[in-house]
């Protein structure tokens, strides 16, 4: 148990540090690299939770494919000062936003960390739930995921294909449009 907590704390620190890095770095490449670290630390969280398949998918899809896209985008950014340091006409909003964010984060973490308990039978209900039941100890984790995905969550799985079609169409519509424009 303590090993788990230790591992979690280490990965959590890494995740937070890299997350701050993503927004704090001025150079877009550094931000992208921080994002890779952040995504990998998320994969580590999944491993700690025994989610082998989702950890693998995280590395495959996010750290792999999505980062490729990010780097493509970065190549199109310029290092002009104008884009690096955008002036903010509504700076008071940023201040209010920061204050509101801090209040929310403080209130939420106070409630969730100090007072909240998982109801015993919610946990039981959760563990009786489809996914948990089939991921009984000893069975392969990816198998359990597959059983849930292809049986209990059959309907959402098929809907996902429609969402992917929409995404593909979006890539073609917006991509082709810009290409036609740049060839003008």
């Amino acid at each position: 148990m303590s090993a788990n907590i230790l591992a979690f704390s280490a990965v959590a620190a890494l995740a937070i540090a890299s997350g701050i890095g993503v927004i704090a770095f001025r150079n877009a490449i550094y931000s992208a690299l921080s994002l890779i670290v952040n995504l990998l630390s998320l994969a580590l969280f999944y491993l700690i939770l025994n989610g082998m398949f989702i950890a693998a998918a995280q590395v495959l899809i996010y750290a792999g494919a999505i980062m490729v896209l990010f780097l493509f985008v970065v190549t199109m950014l310029s290092s002009d000062k104008a884009e690096l340091q955008t002036s903010d006409r509504i700076s008071w909003q940023r201040l209010v936003g920061v204050i509101a964010g801090i209040i929310f984060a403080a209130a939420a973490s106070f409630l969730l960390l100090v007072h909240a308990q998982i109801a015993p039978d919610a946990a039981a209900q959760g563990s009786n739930n489809l996914f948990t039941q089939i991921s009984a100890p000893g069975s392969g984790n990816t198998e359990a995921f597959g059983m849930a995905l292809f049986h209990g969550f059959l309907f959402p799985f098929e809907v996902t294909s429609a969402i992917i079609v929409a995404a593909i169409l979006g890539a073609v519509v917006l991509g082709r449009r810009s290409r036609a424009k740049s060839e003008d």
Partner: protein, 519 residues
């Protein structure tokens, strides 16, 4: 090791409302790539057939009885879902009818993509109304949003279109994050993603803000409210609405304004009024406050607009406020009110945007108040249609909008929330101003091109060596607006519906009451 759930044959029957649209979506894509460009006019017919087929499916499901849950409690086909589905199908149908003339005028070359995406968005909305699990709710929201992001940015070469798509995408993705976190916390608190399971759990457990699973659940609920309020564009989550509506192609704006709102409000009802119905005290206050702010703020903001599309966007915010009143009363009567409101809103709002899209075929920019000057003398029928829709939106008795307002305000009054009724009535009275201003412009202000003023304007343009385009615009504004066939049919259907429901509302009110579970 078993996997608990096996799909039964009966499950597939519940897809009757979705299946026709799925088939025609695929058909649209196939026609677009395999048939010659001349066959493109068939695309809209295929899409319309899909919507009609789905309508028939809804009717068959309405006739059938028995278990409403299907696929492991993922979707439901109860009367609430079917009522919402009909509204969405009608909106999509009207939007598709308006589309051909509009997109040809705007020079949209990618018609196949356009119709495919419209159908996918409609599928997402239908899925959302029939969602019975947090999982399906999220998938439905993504399936409806993703095509809409793309459609918002569809008009080629327009900065406003890109701005619209980009803003909608960024802010909507942000709101989805809130929604997803809220779902995760709700799941953590109750141990299930199925709405029936959550309802059951809440009925059997006590909690407070600072004990038990209360913190998880209440935080989750708050985040769910934020995510859904964004979708219905309630103040203070409304800021995206005018910019996105303005830049999107007008038929899409029409579909977004009524369709997304319907889908999101059905989820609001299913999630809050039904699933969280036993813990009303925990969320009612927030919705109550949102309803008041949105009602008042929406009307004030709408009154300051001179661009008609933006004015309608803010009026949409105000209408979301009236509908939130129905959610805030937290009972079946309120639900029936919201559903009635959604039904009539779909007709009058789509109609108003339909008129705008007809006007935009004539002038290149968005329609400003000045462009409507003297519309009654140029195109009397179009002006009459617009007047009907605006009277309905304002809530003047005799047009359908009044029925929606009446049922919602009545529900608030008899449920002990008389303050919401008073605020709602006062706000709608204030709303008369900006709707009637448009009507006044159409009927009582002479058109810009007919007077001596315009001749001097012409002389000015010519003497200043003004561009031919400018002269063309001012001449075009003076001419009658040519209406494509599809748009004419759409406006006719919407106008007949608005007047019909305004005069004989009993039927629709009864259907809405049935959907809400009232006799």
């Amino acid at each position: 090791m078993n996997f608990i759930y096996t799909v039964s044959n009966a499950d597939w029957g519940h897809l009757l409302a979705l299946a026709p649209l799925v088939v025609t979506t695929a058909l649209t894509m196939l026609i677009d790539i395999f048939l010659p460009a001349k066959a493109r006019s068939a695309l809209v017919a295929v899409a319309l057939a899909g919507v009609a087929g789905s309508g028939a499916g809804v009717y068959m499901l309405y006739q059938s009885s028995g278990n409403v849950l299907a696929f492991n409690g993922m979707i439901t086909t109860d009367h609430l879902a079917l009522f919402g589905s009909v509204i969405i199908l009608v909106t999509t149908f009207l939007s598709l009818l308006i589309a051909p003339g509009y997109i040809e005028r705007q020079g949209v070359a990618q018609q196949g993509e356009y119709y495919t995406l419209v159908q996918l968005a409609a599928l997402g909305m239908l899925l959302l109304t029939s969602a019975a699990s947090l999982m399906t709710i999220f998938l439905g929201i993504e399936l409806l949003s993703l095509p809409l992001y793309i459609l918002c940015a569809f008009s080629p070469g327009q900065t406003k279109a890109y701005e619209s798509g980009m803003k909608y995408f960024m802010l909507s993705a942000f709101a989805s994050g809130f929604l997803l976190y809220g779902m995760a916390l709700t799941y953590g608190a109750t141990g299930t993603t199925q709405l029936a399971g959550i309802q059951n759990f809440l009925a059997n457990h006590q909690f407070t803000l600072t004990s038990g699973f209360g913190p998880y659940f209440i935080m989750g609920m708050a985040l769910l409210i934020i995510g859904l309020s964004f979708k219905v564009s309630a103040i203070p989550f409304h800021a995206w609405t005018p910019d996105v509506y303005e830049g999107a192609p007008t038929p899409i704006t029409a579909m977004m304004a009524s369709g997304t709102k319907t889908a999101a409000f059905v989820v609001f009802i299913r999630l809050f009024t039904e699933t969280f119905g036993s813990v009303t005290a925990e969320w009612q206050g927030i919705i109550w406050a949102l309803a008041i702010i949105t009602t008042i703020g929406g009307n004030i903001l709408a009154a300051t607009q001179t661009n008609v599309k933006r004015m309608l966007a803010y009026s949409g915010v105000a209408h979301a406020g009236y509908m939130l009143i129905g959610v805030a009363v937290a009972n079946s009567l309120g639900t029936a009110g919201v559903l009635t409101y959604l039904a009539v809103y779909a007709l009058m709002n789509t109609g108003a945007f339909g008129v705008l899209s007809a006007l935009e075929q004539q002038i290149d920019t968005n329609v400003g108040l000045d462009d409507l000057r003297g519309l009654a003398s140029r195109s009397p029928l179009l002006a009459a249609a617009m007047a009907i829709f605006l009277f309905a939106l304002a809530g003047i008795p005799g047009a359908a909008g009044f029925i929606g307002k009446y049922t919602v305000f009545y529900a608030a009054a008899v449920s002990g929330h008389i303050e919401l009724t008073i605020i709602g009535v006062l706000a709608s009275a204030a709303g008369f101003f900006y709707y009637l201003r448009v009507i006044w412009m159409m009927y009582f202000v002479p058109p810009a091109g007919s007077s001596a003023e315009s001749e001097s304007l012409h002389a000015e343009i010519i003497s200043a060596g003004g561009s031919a385009a400018a002269a063309k615009v001012s001449i075009a504004t003076a001419a009658a607006v040519a209406l494509p066939v599809g748009a004419t049919i759409a406006l006719f259907i919407a106008a007949v519906g608005v007047i019909g429901f305004g005069i004989a509302p009993a039927e629709i009110i009864q259907l809405a009451r049935n959907a809400a579970g009232l006799p």
